[in-house]
C-alpha cells in the first residue's frame, strides 16, 4: 500500500494541486492556535503548582524536609553500679546490641532467612511480627537482644539494601547481676516501664520504653541509679541510616550506690542458707546497717535484665517455693521462743516480775481450764533459767502476769508489728496482737488464753526476720532501735527510735541470752570460742500439732537470733528456716558462721580485734557475768563506758 500524498496546492510539480484542495492545512490553523492556548493553560497550571509549593509555602516543606533528615536518637545512659560496703562491685553494666526490624521496609518472605541466621524460632518470629500488625509502622520490633558476635556478623553482612534492609541494631546497656542469685532479692531487677506504670503519677517523669527498677534496691533508688539519657542529632537517610552527626548531648550516667552489705558476710549467709527455705538478716545494731540479707530460694535477676522470657516468668511465679518473695522482709511467721526476751522485758519493766520471781515447771501449766505444755520438766524456774532453757511454763506465767496490753506495748516499742522502715519496697509489718487489734480487725473479744499463746510467741503474733533482728538488737543496745538500711549514705542521717529501758533489766535479759549460748542453753551450737555470743532459739508451730502431723508441707518454723559481743553488740543475725520441722537450735550454726565471718574479717583487717587488753578482760566470760549481774560473783569492774544506756 504505497502512500500517495493528497494533492499539494503549493507544489508546483503537482498537477493535482488546487488552492483549497484536499491537502490544504489552513482548515486547521485555528485549531492549532487553540492547541497553543491549551499548552499555555497546561504550563500555567504546572507553574502555579510550583508557585504554590516553592514561593507561597516553602517554609512548611522546608521544615518537613528537615524533619525528614534530622533525627534525634537517644543515647542510653548507663545505670549506676551497685557496690558493697567495701566498694566491691555487685551489679555492673555491659553494653549489648539488640536487633530490631524496621517495619517500614519489612518483607515477610525475609523472615525465614532472618530467623535462620539468628537462630530464632521462625513461628515465634512470625507471631511476634503479626502481633505488631496493628501498631503504627514506624514502631520497630525488637526481635533479639544480647546479640552474640556471630549474630552481629550475620546482621552486618546482610543488612544492605539488596538483602535484608529491615535489620537494624541498637546499642543498649544491660544490667549484669551476680549469676548465682546472690543478693537477688535485695537488689531486685530492672525492666521496661509498663503501660500500667506509665499511668501512675509517680512514674510521670519517665517515658515509654525506658528501663527502670522494678523491685528491690533497683526500684527504691531508681532516681539515683538511672541517670539521664542523652541525645544525638544526626542526618539520616530514608532508611534511617546515619549519615552525619550534627550534635551530641552526652548521656549522664547514673550514680553508683554503695550498700551497707558486706559481700563476704553475704556469701557466707547465702551458703549457710542453701538447702533451706528461709532467710537470714545480719544487722549492725549500733547504726542499723544491713550487713547481709539473704532469702532462699532465690532467682537469677539476669533473666529480667532487659525483658524476661515468658517461660522464665511462668517458672518463677508458679514455683511453690515462691522465689520472688524476699523472705527477710516479707515472710511473716510466729516468732516462737525468740519472742521470749520481749516478754521478759515487758514483765521486768512493768514490775510484774523480777529476776528472782520463780515459777514451777512440772512440764506444763493449766490456765483457764486449758493445759499448756512445756517441752520438758524444768522444776523451779527463774528468769535466767527460763531464758536459757526456753521454759514455756515460766513464760506462760510471766505473760499471764504481765498482761497482753503491756506485752503489745513493749513489742511495739521494739518495732514488732510495724514496718521497720528499711529502704526496700513492699516490706511486711507483721502482727503484734492486742485486744484492741483483735476488736478492730476481727470484731471479737480477746480471750485470756490467747495471752498465754502470745507469751511464747505463738498465736496471732507474727514477725519478719528483719523485725526480730532489729527488736532483739535494740533491746541489747538498751533501748535504741536503729532504722535498718541498705544505703550506706543513710547511716549518717538515720534517726533511731530511742526509748529508755532500765539498764538493769536489759542486763538481766542479755545475761539470759548469754546463757542460751554459753551455759548449756538451747543455742550452744552458736558458741564461738573467745567471742561472747548471745542468742535465742525459737521453733514456731505453723498449725496445731495434730494438723501438722497430717500435712507434710506444714512443719515447724525454726528461728535463731544471735548477736555478739553481748555488751555493745556489733552484729546481730536472725535466721529463719521455714517448714523444716526442726528445732531452732539447728538454725543457730548459720548465725554462728556469719558472726564468725564478721569477726574473722575484723581480725584479718587488724581492726579492733583482738581487742585491747583491758576490754578483752572486761569481756572475758567471767567479767562479763559480773558486768551483767552486779552483785553476783566477783566485784565487777566498772561497766565499759559504751555499755547500753
Amino acid at each position: 500500500m504505497r502512500y500517495t500524498p493528497p494533492p499539494n496546492p503549493f507544489d508546483p510539480h503537482d498537477e493535482n494541486r488546487s488552492v483549497g484542495g484536499r491537502d490544504d492545512t489552513s482548515f486547521a490553523a485555528a485549531k492549532m492556535t487553540i492547541f497553543q492556548y491549551v499548552a499555555v493553560a497546561v504550563f500555567l497550571f504546572l507553574v502555579s503548582g510550583f508557585w504554590d509549593l516553592q514561593i507561597r509555602h516553602p517554609d512548611i516543606y522546608n521544615e518537613r524536609a528537615e524533619r525528614n533528615r534530622i533525627k534525634e536518637l537517644p543515647v542510653v545512659a548507663p545505670r549506676g553500679r551497685i557496690l558493697d560496703r567495701d566498694g566491691r562491685v555487685i551489679v555492673d553494666n555491659h553494653s549489648s546490641f539488640s536487633l530490631i526490624l524496621s517495619r517500614e521496609n519489612l518483607k515477610e518472605e525475609h523472615l525465614h532467612e532472618i530467623a535462620d541466621g539468628l537462630h530464632l524460632d521462625y513461628d515465634d518470629l512470625v507471631k511476634k511480627v503479626n502481633r505488631y500488625k496493628r501498631r503504627p509502622r514506624y514502631e520497630p520490633i525488637i526481635i533479639k537482644e544480647e546479640l552474640t558476635p556471630s549474630d552481629l556478623a550475620f546482621v552486618e553482612s546482610h543488612r544492605d539494601a539488596e538483602t535484608f534492609p529491615e535489620m537494624e541494631t541498637i546499642e543498649s546497656q544491660r544490667r549484669l547481676y551476680p549469676e548465682s542469685g546472690i543478693l537477688s532479692h535485695v537488689i531486685g531487677y530492672t525492666g521496661e516501664i509498663s503501660e500500667s506504670e506509665l499511668d501512675l503519677p509517680e512514674y510521670a517523669k519517665y517515658n515509654q520504653g525506658q528501663i527502670i527498677g522494678k523491685t528491690g534496691i533497683e526500684k527504691q533508688y531508681n532516681d539515683i541509679l538511672m541517670g539521664v539519657d542523652g541525645e544525638r542529632q544526626s542526618i539520616v537517610d530514608n532508611r534511617g541510616k546515619e549519615r552525619e552527626v550534627l550534635g551530641m548531648k552526652p548521656a549522664k550516667p547514673g550514680k553508683n550506690l554503695q550498700l551497707t552489705i558486706d559481700l563476704d558476710l553475704q556469701v557466707v549467709a547465702e551458703l549457710a542458707l542453701q538447702g533451706h527455705r528461709g532467710a537470714v538478716v545480719a544487722l549492725n545494731p549500733q547504726n542499723g546497717e544491713v550487713l547481709a540479707m539473704a532469702s532462699q530460694p532465690n532467682f537469677d535477676p539476669n533473666k529480667f535484665a532487659v525483658r524476661i522470657k515468658s517461660a522464665d516468668w511462668k517458672e518463677l511465679t508458679n514455683d511453690p517455693g515462691n522465689p520472688l518473695l524476699n523472705r527477710a522482709i516479707q515472710a511473716q511467721w510466729a516468732p516462737g521462743s525468740t519472742f521470749k526476751p520481749i516478754i521478759a522485758l515487758a514483765g521486768l519493766e512493768t514490775g510484774a516480775i523480777d529476776e528472782n520471781t520463780v515459777f514451777n515447771c512440772p512440764g506444763g501449766v493449766t490456765f483457764f481450764g486449758h493445759y499448756y505444755k512445756c517441752l520438758e520438766v524444768h522444776g523451779a524456774v527463774s528468769l535466767h533459767k527460763g531464758i536459757t532453757l526456753s521454759c514455756d511454763s515460766y513464760f506462760y506465767n510471766v505473760g499471764n502476769k504481765t498482761g497482753i496490753e503491756s506485752i503489745a506495748y513493749y513489742a511495739h516499742q521494739a518495732g514488732l508489728g510495724e514496718k521497720s522502715g528499711i529502704d526496700l519496697p513492699n516490706e511486711a509489718s507483721g502482727v503484734v496482737p492486742s485486744p484492741e487489734w483483735k476488736l478492730r480487725n476481727f470484731r471479737q473479744k480477746w480471750f485470756a488464753g490467747e495471752t498465754i499463746s502470745v507469751s511464747i510467741g505463738q498465736g496471732a503474733v507474727t514477725v519478719t526476720p528483719l523485725q526480730i533482728a532489729r527488736a532483739i538488737g535494740g533491746l541489747a543496745m538498751g533501748g535504741v532501735w536503729h532504722v535498718p538500711h541498705l544505703n550506706m549514705a543513710l547511716t549518717k542521717t538515720e534517726q533511731p527510735h530511742e526509748w529508755a529501758l532500765n539498764p538493769d533489766n536489759v542486763k538481766k535479759i542479755v545475761y539470759g541470752m548469754y546463757g542460751v549460748v554459753n551455759e548449756g542453753g538451747t543455742g550452744v551450737r552458736a558458741k564461738i570460742p573467745s567471742i561472747d555470743v548471745c542468742g535465742k532459739t525459737g521453733s514456731a508451730q505453723v498449725a496445731s500439732a495434730e494438723y501438722e502431723k497430717t500435712h507434710n508441707d506444714l512443719k515447724d518454723t525454726a528461728w535463731f537470733v544471735g548477736y555478739a559481743p553481748c555488751v555493745n553488740p556489733e552484729i546481730i543475725v536472725s535466721v529463719l528456716w521455714e517448714n523444716t520441722g526442726l528445732h531452732g537450735q539447728y538454725a543457730a550454726p548459720t548465725a554462728r558462721d556469719i558472726m564468725k565471718a564478721y569477726f574473722d574479717k575484723k581480725l584479718r583487717n587488724g581492726v579492733a580485734y583482738p581487742e585491747p587488753e583491758e576490754l578483752k578482760n572486761a569481756r572475758s566470760p567471767a567479767t562479763l557475768v559480773s558486768t551483767l549481774m552486779p552483785g553476783a560473783a566477783s566485784p565487777a569492774p566498772a561497766a565499759p563506758k559504751d555499755s547500753p544506756r
Binding site: 502512500y3 500524498p5 486547521a28 492549532m32 492547541f35 499548552a39 504546572l46 524536609a65 525528614n68 537517610d237
Partner: protein, 364 residues
C-alpha cells in the same frame, strides 16, 4: 528518493539549542541525584544516549516523512508484533515486563518506539479521509488500531505509557474535525462512565488499583512518593538548595530521583527560578513544534508535528503534574531529562520527524 540531505540553514536550530539545553540540565541533575549511589555512572551513559539520539534525529530529519508514511502499516504491524514479543520474552524489572534485551546490554522499551508508528498511522489515516469530517466508522477503526497496542502495553503492566497514546489520537481527531454532536456524545459518555465506574469501587480497591497499575516503584504506599516529591519541591524554595545539596534527593527520601522524579529533584536543587527556566524551554520547544505544524507543506506533516507536540505536552503535564502533586503517580518519564535510552531515543526520533517536516516546508 528517500534520503535527501537537508540544508543546514533549514534545520531547526532554535529547537536544537533548546533540546540540548534541556538535555544538559537533565544530565546535570542525573549526576547530582546519583553521584554517590550505585547509579553514579548514569550521567555519562545519558550523554552517550543523547549523542546516539542526535544521530537518530539527524537520520529522521533526512528521511522524507512521505516515504515513511508509505510504510506505516509495516511499522504498525512490526510495533504490535514487538509488543507481543515483549510480553512473551521481555525482560522483567520492577515488577513489570517492558524491555527487550539487545546485545551489548541495551534494553529497549518497545512501547516508547511504538508511539512513532502511532503518530504516523494517525497522520496517514487522517490525510486519507474521504469525508470532510470524521465519521463514526473511521473513528472506531482508528480507535481500535490504537487501543490494541495500548492494551498490550497496559498488560505489561505499564498503564502510564499506554495512556500517552491517547493524546495522539485525540489531537488527530481534533484536527481532522468531528461533528460537535460526536464530541458531546463522547464527552457525556466519559462523564458518566468514568466517575460511576470509579466511585463504585471501595477506597481500598482504588488504592489497590493505583498500586496494581504501578506497583514496582510503590513499595510503601502510593502517598509516600507524592508526599516526598511535594516536600522536595517545596524545600527548594525560590533559589533551590544547589547542585548535590538537596536533602530530599541526596538522602533518597525522593523515589527514583534520576528517572520519573527527576524534575522533583531538579526543583529541590534549583528552586523556582530553575523550574521556570526549564518550563520556558519546554514551552518554547512546544511552540516551535506547533509552528512547524503550522508551516507544514501538507496535512501529513501537520499531523505528525501535532502528534509529537500533543504527546510531549501530555508527558510534561502528567510527569510535572505528578511532581507537584497535581497528578497521580503514573511513572512516565519527563522527555529529554529523565534518565533512559528508550525515552531519549524515541523523543529524538520524533523531533527528527518534526524537523523532517520543517526542512520540507519549501519543497521546491
Amino acid at each position: 528518493m528517500m534520503l535527501r540531505f537537508a540544508r543546514v540553514k533549514d534545520f531547526d536550530w532554535t529547537m536544537f539549542f533548546i533540546v540540548m539545553t534541556i538535555c544538559a540540565l537533565g544530565v546535570l541533575q542525573i549526576f547530582s541525584a546519583t553521584h554517590d549511589t550505585v547509579w553514579q555512572g548514569s550521567w555519562w551513559k545519558q550523554i552517550l544516549y543523547i549523542m546516539a539520539g542526535l544521530v537518530l534525529a539527524w537520520i529522521a530529519t533526512n528521511i522524507d516523512y512521505h516515504a515513511l508514511m508509505g510504510h506505516v502499516y509495516t511499522l504498525y504491524i512490526a510495533s504490535v508484533g514487538l509488543l507481543v514479543v515483549v510480553l512473551l520474552v521481555g525482560k522483567r524489572a520492577f515488577g513489570s515486563t517492558r524491555w527487550i534485551l539487545l546485545p551489548a546490554g541495551i534494553h529497549l522499551q518497545i512501547s516508547e518506539f511504538a508511539k512513532i508508528a502511532i503518530i504516523l498511522l494517525v497522520a496517514r489515516f487522517m490525510t486519507e479521509l474521504k469525508t470532510e469530517v470524521l465519521e463514526w466508522r473511521d473513528l472506531l477503526k482508528l480507535s481500535a488500531a490504537i487501543v490494541l497496542p495500548m492494551a498490550l502495553i497496559a498488560k505489561e503492566p505499564d498503564l502510564g505509557t499506554a495512556l500517552t497514546y491517547l493524546p495522539i489520537l485525540a489531537v488527530g481527531v481534533y484536527l481532522a474535525g468531528m461533528r460537535w454532536k460526536y464530541w458531546v456524545v463522547i464527552g457525556v459518555l466519559l462523564l458518566v462512565v468514568v466517575p460511576v465506574a470509579y466511585s463504585s469501587l471501595h477506597a481500598y480497591q482504588k488504592a489497590r488499583i493505583v498500586s496494581f497499575l504501578d506497583p514496582e516503584r510503590d513499595p510503601q504506599g502510593t502517598g509516600y512518593q507524592l508526599i516526598q516529591s511535594r516536600i522536595a519541591v517545596g524545600a527548594g524554595g525560590t533559589w533551590g538548595k544547589g547542585v548535590t545539596k538537596g536533602s530530599q534527593t541526596q538522602l533518597r527520601f525522593l523515589p527514583v530521583p534520576h528517572t520519573d522524579f527527576i524534575f522533583s529533584a531538579f526543583a529541590e536543587e534549583h528552586g523556582f527560578i530553575g523550574v521556570m527556566v526549564v518550563m520556558v524551554l519546554f514551552f518554547v520547544l512546544l511552540m516551535q513544534i506547533v509552528q512547524n505544524a503550522q508551516t507544514s507543506p501538507d496535512r501529513a506533516g501537520m499531523y505528525i508535528c501535532m502528534g509529537v507536540g500533543s504527546l510531549l505536552l501530555f508527558h510534561i503535564l502528567v510527569n510535572v503534574g505528578m511532581v507537584v502533586g497535581r497528578m497521580p503517580v503514573t511513572g512516565i518519564p519527563l522527555p529529554l531529562m529523565s534518565y533512559g535510552g528508550s525515552s531519549i531515543w524515541s523523543t529524538f526520533l520524533m523531533l527528527g520527524l518534526v524537523n523532517s517536516v520543517r526542512v520540507r516546508r519549501f519543497v521546491n
